[in-house]
C-alpha cells in the first residue's frame, strides 16, 4: 500500500467516524436500530454540494446539510414515537423516501464539486501537501465532535438520554420525557451522519445518490471494532473507539484490496466489508467462549 493510499484510507476513515459516532448514539445510547443513515449520509452530501455550487459559503452549506440530516432523523423518530411504527421499519421508510428526496435535491444522480471552494480550500497551498491537509483538517473536526458529544452525554440532559435507551420505564419514573429524548437523539445522530456526508462530498469532489448504500454497515463495523479494541464502558473511550474503529476499518479494506495475493477487485468491497464485520462480531464471542470454558 502506497503512502498516498494509506493517507487516503485514514482520511476516509476520519470522514466516516462521524457516521460511526452517529450510529453509536442511535444503536448503543438510544437502543434504536436506525437505518435512516443510509439516506441521511447522501442527503448531507447532496445538500452541501448543491449549496456550494450555488455559491454558498461551504461552512454554512455544511451547517444546513446537518440540519437536513437532523430533519431526516426527526421524521424517523416521529414515525416511531407518534405513530408507533416499529423503530427499524420507521427508519427503513425514511431511508427509501430519502433516495427520492436526494434525487430531487440534486436534480440528477450525481453532481461534481470540481474547482469549487470547499471548507478545505483555505488550508491548501501553505506548503503542506493536500494528502496531509485533508486528514489533518478532518481529524481536528473529529476531535471537536468527540469532545462535544462526550460533554453532552456527561450532562444532565445526556444522562437522561442514556437512561431513555437503557431503561425507559425507570427514566419516565425519574421524570425523563423519553419521547423528547428519542427525537433529540435521532436528530443529533443523523446530523452527525449528514456532516460525514457533507465532508465526504467536499473531500472527494462529488455527491452521488448511491453513495449511501451500506453506510449503516460501515458505521456499525466501526462501532464494533472500537468496542472490540476498547473494552471500557466509559463513554469517552467508546467514542474514541468509534473513530479508531472507523480508521482501522478503512485501512483493513485498503490492505485487502491492494494486496496482490488475495486478488480482490474494488467491486469486492461489500463482500470484504461483510466478512470484516462478521469477524469483528465473532471474535469477542470466541474469546468469551474460551474464558467460560
Amino acid at each position: 500500500m502506497s503512502q498516498i493510499a494509506f493517507l487516503g484510507a485514514v482520511e476516509l476513515g476520519l470522514v466516516f467516524s462521524f457516521v460511526a459516532i452517529g450510529v453509536y448514539l442511535a444503536f448503543r445510547i438510544l437502543d434504536f436500530p436506525d437505518l435512516t443513515v443510509d439516506g441521511s449520509f447522501p442527503l448531507g452530501a447532496a445538500v452541501a454540494a448543491v449549496l456550494i455550487i450555488a455559491g454558498w459559503n461551504p461552512w454554512l452549506a455544511t451547517a444546513i446539510a446537518m440540519a437536513a440530516g437532523a430533519a431526516a432523523g426527526l421524521v424517523t423518530a416521529t414515525l416511531n414515537v407518534k405513530f408507533r411504527i416499529l423503530n427499524l421499519l420507521a427508519s427503513i421508510l425514511t431511508m427509501i423516501a430519502l433516495f427520492s428526496v436526494n434525487l430531487r435535491v440534486m436534480g440528477k444522480p450525481n453532481v461534481a464539486l470540481i474547482n469549487q471552494d470547499t471548507m478545505l480550500t483555505p488550508f491548501f497551498g501553505h506548503g503542506l501537501s493536500e494528502f496531509y491537509v485533508r486528514p489533518l483538517f478532518i481529524g481536528v473536526l473529529v476531535i471537536i465532535a468527540v469532545f462535544l458529544v462526550w460533554r453532552f452525554l456527561a450532562s444532565d440532559l445526556g444522562l437522561a438520554m442514556r437512561a431513555t435507551g437503557a431503561n425507559p420505564r425507570m427514566a419516565r419514573a425519574q421524570g425523563v420525557n423519553t419521547s423528547l429524548h428519542i427525537y433529540l437523539g435521532m436528530a443529533l445522530s443523523n446530523a452527525l451522519v449528514a456532516l460525514g456526508g457533507s465532508l465526504f462530498a467536499q473531500t472527494n469532489g462529488f455527491a452521488d445518490v448511491t453513495s449511501g448504500v451500506g453506510t449503516i454497515v460501515v458505521g456499525l463495523a466501526a462501532v464494533i471494532i472500537g468496542e472490540t479494541l476498547f473494552h471500557s464502558r466509559l463513554i469517552l473511550w467508546a467514542l474514541v473507539g468509534c473513530v479508531i474503529g472507523s480508521v482501522l476499518y478503512r485501512i483493513a479494506i485498503q490492505l485487502a484490496l491492494s494486496s496482490d495475493i488475495l486478488g480482490l477487485k474494488a467491486s469486492d468491497l461489500n463482500l470484504v466489508t461483510a466478512v470484516l464485520v462478521a469477524c469483528a462480531l465473532i471474535l469477542p464471542r470466541l474469546r468469551r467462549g474460551r474464558a467460560a470454558a
Partner: protein
C-alpha cells in the same frame, strides 16, 4: 394529600379479555401518613399504584395530588410530585449506568435538565454522604455499574434515589418481595427511617400481612377494585394477622385460604 375519587379502570374494553381492575374506588390520604395496601391477586393494588404514578390512565374518576388534578398528566411530568420504588430492582435503577449516574438522574427528577455536568464535585460529595448512610460500603463503589450490585443493594439505592429530589408522594410496589428475608428487613427499616426523615406521604403495596401491620400508620385492603377495609389508630393496633386473614376470607365469600396462608409470615 392524595385524593382518588370514584376511580374506575377497565383494561381491554370491549374485548373478550375485558377486565375491570378498579371499580369506583374512593380513597383520601392525608399528608404525612404511611398507608400499607394489601389484597389478593387481582384486587387492584398495582393498578391503583399505576394510576397514581401515571402509568395507567383511569377510564373514569379523578386523581389529585396536593390539590392538583393529575388524572391525565403523563408519568414523566408527574414525577415531580411522585417518587417510586418498583418490585423488580432491575426496573427501578439503570444497570448500564454507574451508582453515581443513577443518583444524578434521580437528583434532577422534577427539575429542568440542561447541559450542566451531571456529576459535579458538589453532587459527588452529597451522593457519597447519602450512600454512606446506608452502611453497605457502597460509597467506595460510586463508579461501579449498577448491574454489578445485588438486588438488595439496588433496592436500597432506589430508596435513596427516591428521596434525593423533593417529592410529595412515595409509592412502594412490593419493593421487598424479590429480596431475601434479611435484606427485606434491612430495606423495610431503611424505608421507615427515610419516610420519617423526609415526611413523605407513602403508599406501600405488600403481600406480607406482617409488614402491613408492623409498618405505617394506616392499612387498606382492596378487593374487586374497591376498598373493603380501612383501619387506623387503635383499631389498627389491636388488629392481628389472624383478623386480617379472617377478613380476607369473608371478602372472598368464605373461600378457603389456599395460597394466601403462605403470606402470613
Amino acid at each position: 394529600m392524595i385524593e382518588l375519587s370514584n376511580l374506575s379502570v377497565i383494561f381491554g374494553r370491549g374485548t373478550p379479555l375485558e377486565k375491570q381492575a378498579l371499580s369506583g374506588l374512593d380513597l383520601a390520604i392525608e399528608t404525612g401518613s404511611f398507608v400499607t395496601v394489601i389484597g389478593s391477586n387481582g384486587a387492584g393494588k398495582s393498578t391503583m399504584l399505576g394510576v397514581l404514578a401515571g402509568d395507567v390512565i383511569p377510564t373514569s374518576g379523578r386523581v389529585a395530588i396536593g390539590g392538583r388534578d393529575v388524572t391525565r398528566i403523563a408519568t414523566a411530568q408527574r414525577a415531580k410530585y411522585v417518587a417510586r420504588v418498583f418490585q423488580d430492582p432491575l426496573t427501578g435503577s439503570c444497570g448500564a449506568l454507574t451508582i453515581q449516574e443513577n443518583l444524578a438522574l434521580a437528583a434532577a427528577r422534577g427539575s429542568r435538565r440542561g447541559f450542566g455536568l451531571a456529576i459535579g464535585s458538589n453532587r459527588r460529595e452529597e451522593f457519597r454522604a447519602r450512600v454512606a448512610e446506608l452502611k453497605l460500603g457502597l460509597e467506595n463503589r460510586m463508579d461501579d455499574r449498577m448491574d454489578l450490585l445485588s438486588g438488595g443493594q439496588r433496592q436500597a439505592l432506589s430508596l435513596v434515589m427516591a428521596t434525593l429530589a423533593g417529592s410529595e408522594v412515595l409509592l412502594l410496589d412490593e419493593h421487598t418481595a424479590a429480596l431475601d428475608p434479611g435484606m427485606a428487613e434491612f430495606v423495610m427499616e431503611l424505608t421507615q427511617s427515610l419516610v420519617e426523615k423526609h415526611k413523605l406521604t407513602t403508599l406501600m403495596v405488600t403481600h406480607s400481612m406482617r409488614q402491613a401491620l408492623d409498618y405505617g400508620t394506616r392499612t387498606v385492603m382492596l378487593h374487586g377494585g374497591k376498598v373493603i377495609l380501612d383501619v387506623v389508630g387503635d383499631n389498627r393496633r389491636n388488629l392481628t394477622i389472624e383478623d386480617l386473614i379472617e377478613m380476607f376470607r369473608k371478602a372472598r365469600g368464605g373461600e378457603t385460604l389456599d395460597d394466601d396462608a403462605l403470606l402470613v409470615s
